[in-house]
Every structure is written in C-alpha cells, then in structure tokens.
Amino acid sequence: MLTAAQFSRLFPFHVILDSQMRIVSVGGVLARICPTAVPGVAFGECFSLVRIGVASGHPFDREYILSQQNTLFVFRTSASQVMLRFQALVLDSPERFAFVGSPWVRKPNELAALGLVMSDFALHDSTVDLLQLIQTATVSVRDAKDLAARLELQRNDLEELIASANVPILGVDRQGFITEWNRASERLFGVARDAALGRTLESQTAGLRPRERVAALVHESLDGRSAGEIECSLIAAAGRLSQIRMSGSPRHGVDGEVVGALLICHDITALAEYRKELEERVAARTTELSKANADLSRAMSAKDDFLSAMSHELRTPLNAVLGLSESLLEGVYGPLTDRQTKSLGTIAESGHHLLTLINDLLDIAKLGAGKMELSLGDVSVSDLCATSVRLVIQQALAKHISVRVISDEAVDSLVTDARRLKQVLVNLLSNAVKFTNNGGSVVLEVCGRSDDGLVAFTVHDTGIGISAEDLKRLFVPFTQIDSRLSRQYSGTGLGLTLVRRLSLLLGGDVSVMSEPGVGSRFTVTVPWVTPSNAAESRSNTASVTAGGESGSVGSSAGPLILVVDDDIPTQETVSDYLISNGYTVVAASNGLEGVRSAKLREPRLILMDTQMPGMNGLDATRELRAIRAFDATPIVALTSGAMAGDRERCLEAGANAYFSKPVHLKELLSTIDSLLKAPSARREATP
C-alpha cells in the first residue's frame, strides 16, 4: 500500500474523490496549477468534463465513472483552462476513487505557459518524452526546410548555368525524350527549347551524322558508363555544315539509379578547319623537308665524290713527286750531286708536308661525315708510345729537345685503334716539339685511372705555353691561335681539331692546361679496356699492319710483277723502283689489258690500280680470281681515294693487300716481299 506521499510522487497531478465526488486530496503539482482544488470542494467546481468519448447527455456521476474505468477522461480546470487527461481508479474502498493523469501539452513552450517544468512530471510519464520527440521532429523539419531551400537555390543556379552556358547542353531520359535543351542548343540546332522538350532526341537533332555514333554515345551513357567523346557532323537547317565534338555522361536519380543522359556539344568547326590547315601545312613542310633531305643527301654524296676525286687528283701527282724523289735520292737514275740531293730532299719534305695536309683534311672530312671507322685491336702501350716518339725524335733532336716516356706498369696493353691513337699522340708530340724552344723537354706520360676507368696519355712540354684567352679557341678548326705563330711555326691548324675529334671517337676526350712561358699539358683519355676484359666483346676487325723487314730480291731476273695503272707517271715510278730492287716488271694501262697480260705472262704478283677507264681494277681483280690459275696470285690494290669502305671493297673483290696513293715505295716493297715469301693463303695488308 502506497503512502499519500508516495502516491503523490508517482501521480503529481492526481485527485482523490469520495463517494459524493468531493475532493479528498490533490497531487502537489496539480494543486499548484489549480489552487481552487482543495479537500472538501466539489470536483465539478474545479474541473469541467470535456466530452470526448463520453455520451452526450449522460449523467456524469460516480456510477458512470466507475463503469468507464477503461475510458480516458479529459477535464479542463475551471480557473486556468488547463486540459488534463485522466484515468479513473478505484482505491482501497469502493467509496473512494481517484483520477490519475497529467496535463495535455503539445509543445514544450506550453509547459512554461502552465508554469511547469519537466521535473514536475513523474519519471514514468511519457509526456516529457513526447515533448522531446516533438521538439526533435521540429528541428528535423526545420533542417529539412533549410536543406530544401539550399537545394532550390543550387538547382536554380544550375539551371541558369546550363541555360546560359555557351556550349550546347542536352538532357534525355531513359526513353530518349529530351529533358534539357539550353539556349546554346537552340542556336546550334535551330530548335526552340519549348519545341524540343519532350520530343525525341533523334527528331530534334536530325542533322547529326553519323546517327549510329550519336545513338551509341547515348546508349553508353544510359548504361551508366562515362561514354567519352565522339566527333560528328551537323547539317543545320540553313545548310551550314558544322563539326561537333559531343561528350556523354549518365544522370543519376536520388537513389543512384541512372535516370537519363547528359550530352555536351562543342562546335569545333573552326578547330577542325585549323587542324586540317595545319595538317596540310605539315604535309607540305614534310615534302619540302624530304626534298631538302634528298638534296642534302645528294650534296653529301657529291661532297664525298668530290673528296674522293680531289684525293685522287691530289695524290696521283704527289705520288709521282714523292716516288720519283725517293727513287732519285736512292740513286735509281744514277748518282746525284750534293746540291741535287739537297734540292730533292726539299722536294720530298715539301711533298710529305703536302701529303700530311691532304690526309688531315680528309680525316676531318671523314670525321665530320661520321664515316671514320675504328679498327680495334690489342695494342701494346709501350710499343705505341715508342713508335709515336720515334716519329718525332728527329724533329726533336734537331732542336736539342729531350723526349722521354713515363709509363705506367698497370697499363700494359689496351684494346683500341692503334693507328688513330698513334695519330693523336704524334700530333700532340709534334706540336710539343714544334712549340718548345731549343734545349727544352717533352714528356709523354701514361697513367691508368681506376677511378674513372680511363687511361690518360699526357704530353707536357716546356714550350711557349698558351694564354687563357687563346685556350678557348684551341680546338676550333683552321685556327692557329696567333697568326704570327703560323709564320714562325708551320701548320694547318687542323691538328688539335683532329686530336679532339679522334679522342671523342675513341671514347675519351682531350683537355689542356697551359701557362704562357712555362709550358703546356695536353691530356688525352681513352677507355681502359684490356684484352682480357674485352675478350667477349672484341670484334675481329683488327687490322694487320704491313711492315717488318724491308728487303728486295735484288735481281733483274727476279719475280715477275704486273703493274696495272692508267696513270703513266705512277706506273713508271713504281716500275722503276721495283726494277731497281731486282724485280721484273710488266705494265698494263687498264683492267682489260691487265687481265690479258696476266693470262699471257702469269706474273708472281699483281699491283692493281682500282680507278681506271674501261674495266676498273676491282672488276679486273674479280675476273682474275675467277680463273683457277690466279686463285693464289697475290694482288695488291692501289687506290687514289682514302674514303671509308675503299679497303673493304678491294678486299671483297679479292685483293690481298691495300695501299692508298701516294704509295710509300719502301712499304710497298716490303709488302710485296712478304706476300711473295708467304704461303698462298690470302692476307690483308694496309700501310
């Protein structure tokens, strides 16, 4: 049994009545909002029944109330008009019963109007929960309205953006009916928005071609794929042809499903025209360039031909000059006076200088044309240095200049092009001797550098040195740094250019340090590749250098040699020299004559000029090699050119050795001697 206090705490809005419907007690909170409800006062004086669910006209008395204990009663306080919802409850005796319930409030602010707070309600009373729910719902509705307003704003912005966009934007639904058609679309297709909306895309964009491409774009977009772009043509109503680039993308609904497609068009007519014009210009330019390339190629070919011809034209007379000088100096044509000997020496020296000049020019030309090929082989570094020094030692001795080599034990041999590296070193040594005053010194120092994998060949001298300003122009072709020097020191100005280019070709470089009056240090580097580590990659292109002991058979009835050359001075010079060295010589002036003569005389060896009128030397060689009797006869090719490929062409035709004019007669003699002594196997020899 609850005490009165407990009952009041559980039901703060209760009223207990006696059998006469007089108030026995009132809950604390109800007493506050309805102060007239005090014990002894008739219930009807304080509360009036709101007839909701109660039969009209029925007497509202104790019997009726007790019969309706499952009915909700609604009362209004007489003083403050507060509505209360009550449940009737019979208490411990039939004479006493109670109304328990709470005020009916629909909004939190009504509580304040009643002077109530939430703690006035019993904790079990759901009125407070209802108020909190209502408040929460109110806030949610407010937020939803805010969102709707923002969305409306954004939708308006978007619609305006689409409508005013400079690019045509079209929307279609899943059935292909147009849902969006902005002003740019009106202009492009010549159809008003109102006329287009709700119609099929196909009917309003009939001028688009090809239709299939447009349909595929729409189809892919409706499939939910970002469909990319297509290009199509549009024939407008006025007949104007436009080029259109169209992109498509799906439009999604609230639940993420695809509800349509959005198509954006770009009029690329001007761009397409410009592109076409550009393509035409590129094509025209390409044609021009092709023609220019062909012209250039012809010019390059002409240049090569010119160089070859010039080489021939320059070397042929020089061959005669040097050959005859050599023959005369050796007394082939009889004894000479001292004065004649001296003059001939000057002629020979000038000829050799001229030959050097021609060779340098040809080398520069070949390097420039990328036609110089390396012939790699195993090279003894000490031999290379000794040979290089030997070539300048006479020049050095004449000036009392000491020349020595500092070697590096670690650098024994290298895989490189011996001829070209020697050319570089001789150039540097020759310069060093040339620009060093009497009594000075020149050193060639070799140093293997494991840190960068290079071998450095340094030539240092105690010469006149080079200023910092002049160093900048040092490797420029045809430039001798001081014109006064060119008068004092002869030179072409090509030497250092050749050194630089050859060094690069060999895989290294050249550098210089110098101080005027003190001397210069030129350092050439080449890759430190030894025969052992190059074994796998080394090519089989090593040339065999002609040389060895010179010698002659020394008898006029000696072995018969056929000299085939259309250039009579050369023919005579070579013949005279060979005869003076004991050989028997027979001559011919062209290839056909040479072949006939060979068949008739069966010489032991044939010297064959390559460039001759009628049958040239290469064809004559091939014809002879086709004859069994000449299968093993040594043939030495003599060429007037010195272009890349000459050697290969000669060897391919069947020659055993190859000499470039002007021929050094001693070397030729040595080669002839070797070939005649050697077994019949062919071997290649070049000077």
Binding site: K107, P108, N109, L111, A112, L116, V117, M118, S119, L123, V128, D129, L131, Q132, L133, Q135, T136, T138, V139, S140, R142, D143, D146, L147, R150
Partner: protein, 186 residues
C-alpha cells in the same frame, strides 16, 4: 556526435570570425559537408578534425576552442532549436542540474545509436552538487565545462565549475564540483 555539435562549431566560427575562416577550417580539416543535420549522427572524427583545424586557423588552443564551443552551444545553437525544451528542464539552475541525468537518458531513448554521455549527481547540497560525467569520447572535459558555464549564464546564476576527477588523467570518469550562488562567489 550530434550534427548540432558540429553546427555549433560552424555557427561560432561564422558569427564570431566570419565565413572565410569557416571555409578555411573546413578545407584544412578535409570536411566536405555543406550542411550539418542537427539530429543526424556524424563520425566523431569530423568533430575532432574541425576542432583541430579551428585551433590552427583561429590561433586558439584546442581546450579554449572546446570551452567556447560548449558555452556557445548552450547559449546560441541549442536555444535556436531546443530553447523551450531547455527552459522546461528547470525553473532555476539547481533544478536544471538535478534533471540533467534524466534529460540525457531520455535523449538516449530517442537516439539510441548516438551514444550520448551519461550524467549522475551526488552530494547535493543547498548551493552545490557533484556532477559525474561518463563518456566514451576522450578530450571533451573542456567542452563539458563550457556547457556548464553556458547553463549558468542561461539562468543568470553565478556558477563555479571545478573539475575534481579527469578521465584524461587516469580516472574512470570526469567529475565536477558545481557551486552556485554565494558558494560560487566564495
């Protein structure tokens, strides 16, 4: 966290510091939500991210920011939507504080997935009580202090808030001694 908490951060920043600062805070925190729905649940990381970015942009420490948010939430944001309900929670400050635990239990019933904090009171005296605060969210004690401060201002009653236990310091929950009236002035 309630959307209304994030909304409070937005309102505080835009009203006190301007729209541009709010955009900068959103950019820095990587939050890309245009509108916070008051009664929706948002990941706590969003709130923490906004507080961190606000601290950087406004040059205030996170505790300062959290206290200001708590106070602002009571006095501004909550009053906009829940003002009548707040007013109905008590005729005066003590009554409000007494009712606070039940209030949050009812909130928990309405939003069971929001995991609202739980309050308990003890040691109720004439001018003081001890408020126990249980929350799985770390680092919000300054926010709670700001809430109490805002409630004191709402009832125009001096309120002294003294934290007596701290979860961040290793206690099992936060505990505050709340003193009002003359006790607050003492």
């Amino acid at each position: 966290m309630y959307g209304m908490v994030n909304k409070a951060i937005e309102d505080l920043v835009t009203i006190k510091f301007g729209e541009d600062k709010w955009k900068e805070i959103k950019r820095r925190s990587g939050v890309n939500i245009d509108v916070f729905i008051s009664n929706d649940a948002y990941d706590d990381s969003i709130t923490y991210g906004l507080v961190g970015a606000a601290s950087e942009v406004l040059g205030l420490t996170p505790p300062q920011i959290l206290f200001a948010f708590g106070e602002f939430w009571v006095l501004h944001t909550a009053r906009l939507g829940y003002g009548d309900l707040l007013s109905a929670a008590g005729r005066d400050l003590p009554e409000f504080l007494d009712y606070l635990p039940s209030f949050h239990i009812r909130v928990a019933l309405i939003f069971p997935h929001l995991k609202p904090p739980r309050f308990e009171t003890s040691d109720r005296g004439e001018n003081h009580l001890t408020m126990h605060y249980f929350s799985h969210r770390p680092g919000l004690s300054e926010f709670v202090k700001g809430l109490f401060s805002g409630i004191g201002k709402m009832y125009e009653t001096p309120l002294k808030v003294t934290q007596t236990k701290s979860k961040d310091a290793g206690d099992d929950h936060d505990e505050y001694l709340l003193q009002w009236g003359a006790a607050a002035a003492a």
